[in-house]
């Protein structure tokens, strides 16, 4: 089963991954198969003339996680959303009627509605690039080398199992094929110690 690895310790939120994905798949404004979330928290203590920060901020780059338990496939009324043998979750344009149930069900907002076509669209881990022996566009794009992909067992052997940090949902919901190297300030899931700082950019 294929999945992604993301190194949160080196990501500066530049979004080259997002733009490379949009270029590769000819995605219009409003359709973002890969999104970069800024999670920020902390405060200042002001005393007399001094102002002392206790602040954190880090980014999480997320596309479809090609989950072990993909709720998008379960809610799809037309069987358009299916899981391929390699584990990648795929939407069949011929069958999709654009009802957007999958969009509502997915806790990662991976399926994205393309208003121009009236259909759902999503990351296929750049199937044609993989067939040609190349990395997915986002992985090859990252200036910080924060992204990797491959069989999830290999990724976990190489990078560990962690994937439960704010602002991501509880991984038990869909069991994502995703491994994250946590930022030094990564906040455990469900703590709500910070907030998503760029809600309109994702």
């Amino acid at each position: 089963m294929l999945g992604f690895y993301f190194d949160s310790t080196v990501c500066n939120g530049c979004k080259a991954c997002n733009i490379a994905c949009k270029d590769k798949h000819d995605l219009p404004v409003g359709v973002n198969w890969r999104r970069v979330v800024e999670y920020t928290g902390g405060s200042w203590s002001v005393s007399g003339n001094t102002a002392v920060p206790s602040v954190f901020s880090y980014y999480t780059s997320i596309s479809c996680n090609h989950c072990e338990n993909p709720v998008c496939t379960q809610v799809c009324p037309t069987t358009a959303m299916t899981r391929r043998e390699d584990g990648t979750v795929f939407v069949d344009d011929e069958k999709c009627v654009g009802c957007r149930y999958c969009e509502w069900a997915c806790p990662y907002s991976a399926p994205q509605f393309n208003a121009e076509t009236g259909h759902m669209t999503k990351c296929d881990l750049c199937a044609d690039y993989r067939d040609a022996g190349q990395d997915p566009a986002c992985v090859a794009a990252c200036p910080s080398r924060a992204l990797d992909w491959g069989p999830i067992e290999e990724l976990r052997a190489k990078y560990g199992n962690a994937n439960a940090f704010e602002p991501l949902p509880d991984p038990e919901i869909t069991r994502p094929n995703l491994v994250i190297k946590p930022h030094r300030d990564a906040q455990p899931s469900g703590m709500g110690t910070g907030h998503i700082a760029n809600p309109k950019e994702i």
């Binding site: 530049c14 080259a16 949009k22 920060p53 901020s57 040609a132 794009a141 309109k200």
Partner: protein
Amino acid sequence: SAAAQGDGIPDAKTVWSACVVNCGSRCPLRLQVVDGQIARVLPDNTGDDSLLGRQIRACVRGRNMRERVYGPGRIKTPLKRREGTKRGDGVWDEISWDEASELFAKEMLRCAETYGNESLFSVYGSGVWNAHISSSALAGRLFNLVGGSLSYYSNYSYSQIGTITRFHYGIPDECTSNSFENSIQHGRMLVLWGNNPQETRMSGGGNTFTSVQAAKTAGLRIVVVDPRYSDSAAVLADQWISPRPGTDAALIAGIIKHLVDNDLQDQKFLDDFCVGFDEHTMPEGVPANLSYRSYIDGKGPDGVVKSPEWAEEITGVPAHTIRQFAVDLAMTKPVNITQGWGPQRHANGENQARAIYLLSNVLGQVGIPGGGTGGREGYFWPLTSWFPAGENPVQASISNFGWSDAIDHGSEMTATKDGVRGVDRLPSDIKFMVEFGGNMLASQHADNGALRELLRDESKCEFICVIDNQFTGSAELADLVLPDTTTAERWDLVPSEYTGDMAYLIMAEPAIEPLHNSRPGYDIFAGIAEKAGVGKEYTEGRTLEQWARHMYENEHRPAVPSLPDFETFRQLGVHRYYADMDNPEAGTHVSLRSFREDPVSNPLGTPSGKIEIFSLELYDMSQTWEFPDGKKGDRITSIPEYVATWEGAEEARQPGAQYPIQLIGHHHKSRTHSTYGNLAKSKEAHHQVLWLNPLDARARGIADGDIVGIFNDRGRVQIEVRVTPRIMPGVASLPQGAWIQWDENGVDHGGSNNVLTSLHPTPVAKGNCQHTTLVQVELVSAGTKA
């Protein structure tokens, strides 16, 4: 070849091109072409993840090149402002290239004849900066062939440090520090002082990559000094110190006071390599108690001891943090203190820059592996050369920031009042101006509203031509607008710049035919030269492609012998090279190494040959330079002392201050200055918002996502606010470079920080100081949900 790999489109032709903007890096792009259209923009696929062989992966900006080429912002054909309308009215007539070239040549020659060649000016613009052929030299060559033009010194990036460094280190530009690579090899600590490589150097082949290596692989202790929790702080820093903007020289005085009180300074270095730190190394002929030591000990003219508590009051950084930082610096050597260009972009920027240099001097870190000079991180400068502009017969020059004054009252500008060089007084106002690949006229200079009024006055500057591939706000203010191509439509040779110890050259060849009725900049200027009677001299009989081949064979290959032949280079696309080709690892940059090894044989270019912490030249200038409309802080000091200025931190904190918020303008991830700032996908990825601290927001009834007004006596911007603890209280940041959207009331809704900045220049450099700006912020309307 690497370029030709299929990448999922089997029949595509893939050619090498580049993102050529002034981010300081430059990245190769592989453009895949299908049926004469660019279908994909692909990254570099040469190199690897090694420190000195790294792949040069383009960032979010360059990867959006397809929208820049095909977007609706392109200028399609030459446009002439309609007779009877005013500049900025937006009424245009399409004209032919023949008419356009004739008009440019006629007006240029008329102004040169009527007012002298000092009335011609090519204003700063960096949208096509540093391509070897399509550069500002294209305009310079034309001007030089018709008798020359007024020129400028320094630049908007580092006006203050670029001018003041010759007094400190004897170098007529900035003095770089050691490279990040050198710190990785030899250092223990790295200070990023107002330095933000993760946002200002975003190329995956440049300092985004090397700074991550320093933090994660080499494990250097990294301290970020910045009023904003930058992405460099988020990704790299072990410690973040946040002084109020423009108070860095005070912070450093407090640090140095603690160092000398505990005998932690490198006194031998100060005695042997520097003048003016102590009274016993002062030059002869100046009064006593003007050394830096006297200044911090309270024995100088102000009589104030520069204790950490004194610095705390000014900077907002607690005295115990200042003491701890001082000790860390002294105990964690070698330490490379690198400064970005934010600290010097202040009204006291000359002293800010020198103070950071000084800290590395006091620690004795100059010229040693792993140490540094306190300048920006060093790099191996490309040896390849630019399109030849020729010699400029005109001697007069002004600062990069002085052109709006020179339009308004150039013939009143002098050497000691306005920093005019080459002549004592300018003989003429600027009457003819060309802007090539830049947005200075609209959003990148200061006080955009006042500037717009000045430029609309046709009795001042009589002719303005803007040449660009996007219809910028500057184009709106022109008499003649000429459509340049993008890099994707022309030949060029593209060098690296601030990319550390790995230099490279990128092949750029036309992927597609010029769109619409556009022409490569070279062909534009060659056509004008022909109308001006200097066509043959301009072209030397060469087409653009022939110039690329000519320069490659006759300039670049002799300078960089490892370069392959031209046809091979077209296939390879990128060529990496190093100061020491045989052993790149051994050639990493140690700034001022020869001076440190033998200061007698290798003296600096200062009058003493040493580092001048006290500058006798500046001391003399402090007596002779004139400040007729002086504002607070308009003074020249011999040592890098802290100077409180107009619209500085003290003024902001005065009880009842009308404008209590210090506004800075950090570089935005979606743009390089204003380039890419008009593209829908770039704007979708990174919104233009004001950064405001929760404490300041709460005091004003402002919530995250609201629309706020940001204003002072110069102008008003209304834009969405991001309420975030990532900016310190009392400070706000409006990222620079946004495209202006004026409404009918003169309010900008695009978020140009320069609507609010001042045209008042700094004391020595006469440079731009955009981070010295006070504003008030107020709620306009509640925001909408995501």
